[in-house]
Amino acid sequence: MTISIEPKNQAKKNLQPKGWLRYFSFSLDHKVIGIQYLVCGFLFYLVGGTLASAIRIELASPMSDFMPRDVYNQVLTLHGTIMIFLWIVPVVNGAFGNYLIPFYVGARDMAFPRLNAVAFWLIPPSGLMLIASYFIDGAAQAGWTAYPPLSITTPQSGQIIWILSVLLLGGSSIFGGINFIATILKLRRPGLKLMQLPMYCWAMLGTSILVVLSTPVLAGTLILLSFDIVANTGFFNPVLGGNVVVYQHLFWFYSHPAVYIMVLPAFGLVSEILPIHCRKPLFGYTTMVFSIMGIVVLGLVVWAHHMFTSGTPPWMRLFFTIATAFIAVPTGIKFFNWVATMWGGRISINSAILFSCGFIINFVFGGITGVALAQVPFDIHVHDTYFVVAHFHYIVYGGSVFVIFSSIYHWFPKASGKLLNEKLGIIHFAITFIGFNLCFAPQHWLGLNGMPRRVAEYDPQFQFVNQISTLGALLMAISTIPFLINVFISIANGKKAGDNPWNALTPEWLTSSPPPIENWEGEAPLVEEPYGYGKSITK
């Protein structure tokens, strides 16, 4: 069957703007959409980061003197929601996925370009709606988890706007996931086998499967929650005979896979960056593929480890502890594969590889505390303390965000044709790495000593360690300054990169930088060995 473009759509397409204006249009080009995702996500990152700084400034003193308690709750909720749903998920999936996947499969665009544009354009309005709720009647106060009965009893308008915007973002995420699955499985260049795909394709395939299977459950749950809020039903309201634990089960059925939705693409991106800058093939390609798929399967059956203190029966605790501990196996395989990829390689020290190494170091810390948290006796001790906050941020900031920066340094020449300044990049890395560890490492200690999370006030004995943490947070805030200067200077007059500055073999570098409108002049190249470094076929 053929897909025909009707003449009336043709006339509309001629009106598509060119130059920088196309980034503000309903563009169907996957490269434009990728940049839209990245810049939009980064703007929300600045908002979420400002909120994080506000939280840390508040916590520099034991009393709630910087902002009132209810404002603290709103700031905390907005920080979590913005960082997860508007920064990390859209950027590691949408931005890099849209930019890179069509290159990797040898296509000229994504499978469903219009759906792709719709998925992106759902994000800015829902993000702005979420932020605007603060100025209407106060934003949601129940944290990014929106546990009832708290989310039912706190002021309702903010909570409903929160639900609406998360539903829209979930829809955007599902549309993106459908698009990635169809692109990777159906749009491959003839002759390209699945096991020849770059690792990021596998990571995105696994992530998209998780998105398609778990995000709709969150949508359904939030619809029921909104009924509880506006229609006075009692699904999750114990006063009306409802059951809060059902909400927790349904919520974590999405939100535990959501952690993998944030971190699996990061695994894929690191697997692309390391071989190129170490001049060695990716170690253990097949084991990487199987460990990604193993994480996908296991990731769907571990959700109740977030609920060990919710009256979970012993058999359930046992099952979810064991299943969670099993995830350490595929994750450990990936970790050792990355180390083995670097081992004995000709490593060039640049910002991209530094951020990737930072990721490996931070992620191993986050992984170890993760295995510890999966153990019921330990989890009950530190549940809802700063230990969990530290663990989570080691995974999503030390993991995903470090990889996002690494990827920006790595692929900036691809998108712009200019290199980023290495000196500023290394300064950016140093401040981020020191600030990050200064901010979150002490929080392990705070949690072990019993400081609860999500509370604006705390026991004065924790003040000194909290101030160290605040200092780290402010360093992280400062670290974006050299990065932003770097990006603007490099776009204006950065060093010309040439088509392939890293001498890479993956397909996206085998075309000009920035790439032409439909990716390739002529046929897409058939790359059978995307990681064939150190062999006779090097260019």
């Binding site: 069957m1 053929t2 897909i3 025909s4 473009i5 043709q10 397409k13 001629n14 009106l15 598509q16 703007p17 060119k18 169907l28 296509a107 000229r108 665009d109 499978a111 469903f112 759906l115 599902i174 996931g177 459908i178 698009n179 699955i181 169809a182 499985l185 159906k186 749009l187 003839p190 398609v212 299977l213 778990s214 995000t215 709709p216 459950v217 949508a219 359904g220 749950t221 619809i223 029921l224 009924f227 229609a231 006075n232 039903t233 009692g234 699904f235 009306l240 005979g241 409802g242 059951n243 059902v246 089960h249 349904l250 059925f253 409108i517 439909e518």
Partner: protein, 200 residues
């Protein structure tokens, strides 16, 4: 590069894709329906958990009358068959027959919704009465929303399949096939819903 060149290239590109690749729009739709099915799966899981662990207050009525939902099940199953007939007629280039079968299918959808509304008005409980009542309305309502959307889509394609210059022909069957797949999906969900909510 001017924008006109760009659009020419996009058009060419689209042509190339259609030449080199099979049509994967149905594949995308199936992926979407899996996602949609997971929403229902979440609702079913919530309902079954409530049934298992949350006893209803004394005097709560949850015995459902079976005739109307049984008729509705039969209606939807027949409508799946009539939709299939419409597809067969279209691939035999008999557009007017196809349109006739589509309108019959839409009629079944409307009758289904009518019975559903009739049932709503005659039930002994309301949305906020108890947990069972809320879950019942949430599940059947969410399914009813799907039937409503499906019926609207069937009415739209039954207009587009008209013999004199409709958009859908035996060379462009995708809209009909997509709606048919969606309609079968909605029927399947109803059968599961009927088993779990009414019979279990």
């Amino acid at each position: 590069m001017t924008s006109i060149e760009t659009s020419e290239k996009l058009k060419e590109n689209n042509k190339k894709i259609s030449e080199n690749h099979e049509d994967f729009r149905i594949f995308g739709l199936i992926t979407f329906l899996i996602a949609d099915g997971m929403t229902f799966a979440g609702f079913f899981a919530a309902y079954l958990t409530y049934k298992a662990v949350n006893p209803l207050p004394d005097g709560a009525i949850y015995e459902l009358e079976l005739p109307i939902p049984t008729i509705n099940t039969i209606l939807l199953l027949i409508s799946s068959a009539t939709f299939h007939k419409a597809g067969k007629a279209l691939s035999n280039q008999n557009n007017s027959n196809s349109q006739k079968w589509l309108l019959i299918t839409a009629l079944f959808g409307i009758v289904f919704l009518g019975f559903q509304i009739f049932e709503y008005f005659n039930l002994p409980f309301a949305l906020t009465d108890n947990l069972f009542a809320s879950t019942f309305y949430a599940l059947t309502g969410f399914h009813g929303l799907h039937v409503t959307l499906g019926t609207l889509m069937i009415l739209i394609i039954s207009w587009q399949v008209r013999p004199d210059g409709g958009r859908i022909t035996n060379l462009n069957m995708f809209p009909l096939e997509a709606v048919e797949l969606y309609w079968h999906f909605v029927d399947g969900i109803w059968v599961i819903l009927f088993l779990i909510l009414y019979l279990l």
